[in-house]
Amino acid sequence: MIRAENLLVTRGGRRILDLPALSIAPGGVFGILGPNGAGKSTLLRVLAGEMAPDSGRAFLDGRPLGQWRAGDLARRRAVLPQHSTLGFPLRAEEVVALGRLPHAGRGGPQDSVRAAMREAGVAHLAGRNHATLSGGEQQRVQLARVLAQLDGVPPADSVLFLDEPTSALDLPHQHAIMAVAAARARAGATVVAVLHDLNLAARYCETLLMMASGQRVAEGPPTELLTPETVRRAYGIAMRRIPDPERGEVLLVPA
């Protein structure tokens, strides 16, 4: 369970994050939407314990993130950034194995690496040099790395943060990554994702938070939140909402 109150982050005199209250329940994907500079990634970093807010507090399981020891936190929550460039060439399986670092010397599942690679659909890439993989393959190997980090953690205790995980990826890779994250969420994990594609968010998220200028514009399930009015308020562009004839969901297209 993630909770936050009175979060405030100021940079250069501007409030880049100003959120009075927030709570995120496990068991679903929580999507954060909004235009560039809306404070989405800042919020994610604060919730993941990567940075401390200037004021206010964020909690994981009722305990302020500032009071978590780095190692304990790393055995509970993993973060998948938008893009990772390796400092030195490693094989894909070596990259995934680095996800086990927080558990080093603590036992745990022996084949975490292989299981995570299978779950992320990259088992066939194990021996390949990470640098020679395509952008989408690299991102899925990184996904396997964060899955390996959470392997052996009870699903209800594990928290997965995805920071624009699918930007710059092609359609199959976008859906592959979101499908794996959604499956983890269904198994009981807390999943928080910063996303740019409204329809991708509608497809995989239980709850959406729409942000603009560091503040909450709206929050709710996709069908309620994704209205032309909310999108106009956040992004300042006109959209049309059309029903998806086959799945009963909604689609937003530029007006």
Partner: protein, 355 residues
């Protein structure tokens, strides 16, 4: 080309431990060879006999071999081993920290600071010091110069409690230039005798090794050697990136400070004892990565062993190449290391261009 240049060596059936034992064996063989090379050539079995004689495990040959090995060659060869090991290990740590295969402790200003300290002592300080302090004054000043410039670099690179790697690089470049300018000014003011001392110090040599120098260098290197295993996890996580390492629970600021301070201490002492010996810190980690990949569990100890194996051999070569004169060892490593470095750069460029 790109595929070959970027290929990652597969871990073979042999574990890292076994490979390290083999490397250590190679380093010992190099040591035996290095001890035998010089104006008087002694075969490896002769070297071994003289080394074991004081332990009562062998009888010394009647000739001067024992004295040559024990008084002339052992101290400098041990210093070369120690300096080579420290430079290799420190290079591997710096490359891991900067996430760049071309980084070395020189980036932090360790060498430039050491040179400034040494030159300052030769030109200004020696005349002011009482005679008994003079033999070790240059080394001491080099050590302090190395530490001082490194601390300045870190201070400037620190912003809001965090050390920025990019700022560290820029601050390093700036302080390298400043220290170089100050050194040049001192050299300009130096007399002929001082110039000669400066020149030889700059080109590096392990000929000045005495038990006291060895002991002091080892003392300064020990913290780095002892701490190295504890840096491995953090450096491995850093391969992924700074943010990724942090979310894996690595105390990243502590890792930066610990690495830099320990490296400055050890390399400062190595530079103080043996002058400027370039390229070992870049070449040794590269050879290590070429052999078995970039995992720091392997790269750190392997770089230390490779440096410890290479530098005694380089010193032996420096002793005989222009006999009866002696080449400065730093000159030799630069002559060998320069082309190696260039080949590496070209290869990396080809790989990046995708050709």
């Amino acid at each position: 080309m790109s595929e070959a240049a970027l290929s990652v060596p597969r871990a073979r059936a042999m574990g890292h431990g076994m490979a390290l034992l083999l490397l250590a064996g190679a380093a010992l063989c190099g040591l035996l060879v290095a001890l035998g090379i010089g104006a008087i050539r002694i075969p490896p079995d002769g070297v071994l006999r003289e080394l074991l004689a004081p332990l009562g495990l062998a009888t010394s040959a009647p000739g001067p071999e024992g004295a040559i090995i024990w008084t002339l060659r052992v101290p400098r060869t041990l210093l070369a081993m120690l300096a080579g090991g420290v430079l290799g290990l420190a290079g591997a740590i710096m490359q891991g920290l900067f996430r760049n295969p071309l980084a070395d402790p020189g980036l932090l200003g360790v060498s430039a600071g050491g040179a400034l300290g040494a030159v300052f002592m030769i030109v200004v300080g020696l005349a002011l010091l009482p005679a008994p302090l003079r033999p070790y004054a240059t080394a001491g000043a080099a050590f302090l110069g190395a530490l001082l410039v490194t601390l300045l670099v870190m201070r400037v690179a620190q912003h809001e409690g965090r050390v920025m790697i990019a700022s560290m690089l820029l601050a390093g470049i700036i302080f390298n230039a400043l220290a170089g300018a100050a050194t040049s000014a001192l050299i300009f003011a130096a007399d002929d005798m001082q110039l000669r001392d400066i020149l030889f110090w700059t080109m590096g040599s392990v000929a000045g090794a005495t038990p006291a120098v060895l002991g002091a260098t080892l003392l300064a290197a020990l913290p780095l050697i002892i701490a190295a295993p504890f840096l491995v996890r953090g450096l491995n996580a850093l391969i992924l990136g700074e943010r990724e390492a942090q979310t894996l629970g690595i105390p990243i600021e502590r890792l930066k400070w610990a690495s830099v301070l320990l490296v400055a201490l050890a390399v400062g002492a190595a530079v103080a004892a043996s002058g400027m010996i370039g390229f070992v810190g870049i070449v040794a980690p590269h050879l290590a990565r070429l052999m078995r990949g970039a995992d720091h569990r392997w790269v750190l100890p392997a770089s230390a062993l490779i440096g410890a194996a290479l530098l005694p051999l380089a010193d032996a070569a420096a002793r005989v190449l222009v006999a009866p004169a002696e080449l400065p060892i730093g000159l030799l490593t630069a002559l060998l290391g320069g082309p190696f470095f260039l080949a590496l750069l070209l290869r990396q460029r080809f790989a990046l261009d995708g050709r």
